[in-house]
């Protein structure tokens, strides 16, 4: 029934390890099943189920609308404030869920790690992909808001998947670093909410990045999520900062995080089962 069995060589690895993406491909079904498990389990015992995916950004938007839109009167490039902030909250929700779930993915699946071999990259990857479903649900709200305010999508609408990908790459890059660090230093668990909050303020969600003075622009653009949020507003409504040097920097930083994260993760991977 079976063909010639595969031969595996087990030996200590030294220095930088190859990424071994082939192994990841062999285990692609496991990624699928883990995403599916996360989704099933996440809403199984909740009263409101998947509507949590809608409620979270919606309520945040209402609070932002009150504080920044009505009281603070933040400039919004001519958009209604709810639409303006929601277009930022949408990719932000995707990013922060992915970052948090991804960074905790190794520790929360430690019994799998100590008992079974599989490419460990599967865990943060699955955790990050699971966030896409919530994102898709919340996206329906955006469409609803656009209809309500009578806003038609801009011509660059089709570039949206690129910005979604950029958010996911950024989340994955950081989650690779943090999940591997979390195995050894559980401080990561405590630092995560703080990091997320800080990052939220450094991203132009409640406000517009046009408020940033010219001399800080470039440093500000080092945050890939600034590129993502600006890109979302540009692609959806044709306002604000379109593709330019800022976006290139975002892509550059995101890829840097991803590649360094992948190598760090692979280097630490050999010790996960012993340390976790």
């Amino acid at each position: 029934m079976s063909s010639e069995p595969i031969t595996v060589y087990i030996r200590p690895s030294r220095g930088l390890r190859a990424l071994n993406l082939r192994d990841l491909w062999i285990y692609r079904e496991l990624i699928y099943f883990l995403v599916w498990r996360d989704l099933k389990v996440r809403y199984k015992q909740t009263l409101l189920g998947a509507s949590w995916a809608i409620l979270q950004p919606l309520i945040t938007m209402l609070v932002f609308d009150f504080i920044f839109g009505r009281v603070g009167k933040v400039p919004t490039e001519g958009l209604p404030y709810p639409l303006f902030s929601f277009a930022g909250l949408l990719p932000w929700g995707l990013f922060s869920t992915a970052l948090n779930q991804g960074s905790r993915s190794l520790v929360s699946n430690q019994n799998m790690i100590t008992k079974i071999y599989f490419p460990r990259l599967v865990l943060p990857l699955a955790a990050i992909l699971a966030g896409l479903v919530d994102f898709a649900i919340a996206f329906l709200i955006l469409i609803g808001l656009m209809i309500y305010y009578g806003v038609t999508p801009a011509a660059a609408f089709w570039t949206l998947p690129f910005f979604i990908l950029l958010a996911l790459i950024t989340a994955l890059g950081v989650a690779l670093w943090l999940s591997a660090l979390n195995v050894r230093y559980r401080d990561v668990n405590h630092a995560l909410p703080f990091l997320t909050q800080l990052w939220l303020f450094l991203t132009p969600i409640a406000y517009s990045s046009s408020l940033i003075s010219e001399r800080w622009r470039l440093i500000y653009a080092l945050n890939p999520m600034a590129g993502v949020v600006n890109g979302f507003r540009w692609a959806l409504f044709g306002v604000g900062e379109g593709p330019g040097i800022g976006l290139w920097m975002a892509v550059f930083v995101a890829l840097g995080l991803l590649i360094s994260g992948l190598f760090y993760f692979r280097a630490m991977e050999r010790m996960f089962a012993d340390l976790i």
């Binding site: 595969i6 031969t7 060589y9 030996r11 100590t114 230093y185 089962a273």
Partner: protein
Amino acid sequence: MLAIRVENLSKRYRIGTAQTRFRYHDTLRDRLVEWVKAPLRGLRGPGEEYVWALREVSFDVPEGQVLGIIGRNGAGKSTLLKILSRVTEPTEGTVTVRGRVGSLLEVGTGFHPELTGRENIFLNGAILGMKRAEIERKFDEIVAFAEVEKFIDTPVKRYSSGMYLRLAFAVAAHLEPEILVVDEVLAVGDAEFQKKCLGKMSDVAQQGRTVLFVSHNMSAILRLTQEAIVLEKGRLVKRAPTAEAVDYYLSSGHSELGERRWEAEEIPAAAAPFVPLALRVRNGRGQVVDTVRSVEGATVEFEYRLEAPVQGLRVGIYLMTIRGEFVFTSFDTDDPGLFERYGTRPAGHYLSRAILPPDLLNEGRYVIGVNASSFSVRRYFMDENALSFNVDISGAPGTQWPEVRLGPIRPRLEWRIERLE
């Protein structure tokens, strides 16, 4: 054709990591404190913080062999299996494995209580490396083997522990790997389940696949394997036909005659708050000995410490022949009066002592296992092969005839002979 080739395999653990007794996680603070305290020494000290769990182990397993692996707790058995199943990397040496390695120590890994039986079969199958199509093909067989047809769409958190275990085992057992690793499955589940496990194992062996079998149960090892290796403190000390390896294992390691002491690293973290210290066999005159005379009787004493009060604790011994057949099991609170008096045993240093009456055992070598548990609550500590001792039968009933008497006991029965006429 070789299924497994292990060459000079060594594994070193940092003290304080998962495999040693004290399981804790570094925090950045610890690292910083360490660094501030010893800035000149650098972030990592020299070698004494390491232990070798395996040291230069080499062996081959031909395809289709059932190989037993025996050794005390902490001898390196689990580390060896973890390296073979690629969970952890060796520090030195290489292993060549031909075929998929499946293991029954992975039973139920990744099961999620909120998911139904059906969902968990697919999830667990994928975790174990099965393709979706393969799971679909074997689905009915798995459900039938586990006998959970009626509850297949019920979340497994509502399953009884027996059902849960059966389902988990069924998935693992249908992986059909070329190499099967079985680690102490006999320690879990009821007798029925254990029988099923062993049955599945011999099926696998008969299909010409390779099996590595780790157990403390010498009779199971003797029954299921033809050859065995013995690990001692991380080194492979013996490879021989099973009977010989078992004899070697049982008679070695008991160098402190009549006494067994537990070192800190031999005690699993899960034993806390129970800390086994020593097990001794004393003869009729109170001396610690390796050989007792059957006509004299003997005392078995188990010394331990409780670091916290334990409710419902019972500390006891198993007595087995060298072939692993049970002779008896006895606990220190078997007597209802004592059980009541020690309902909660306070923290402290204890000695539980059992007196073996004279004329109980037949000649030969016996193995004492120890167990400390609270019935149906938790098993704190168990070592099925803690100590062995000899019984000398000089002066015992029937020794005027130089013959071997079968059976593990040699009671002095009261015979009456009447002449009926």
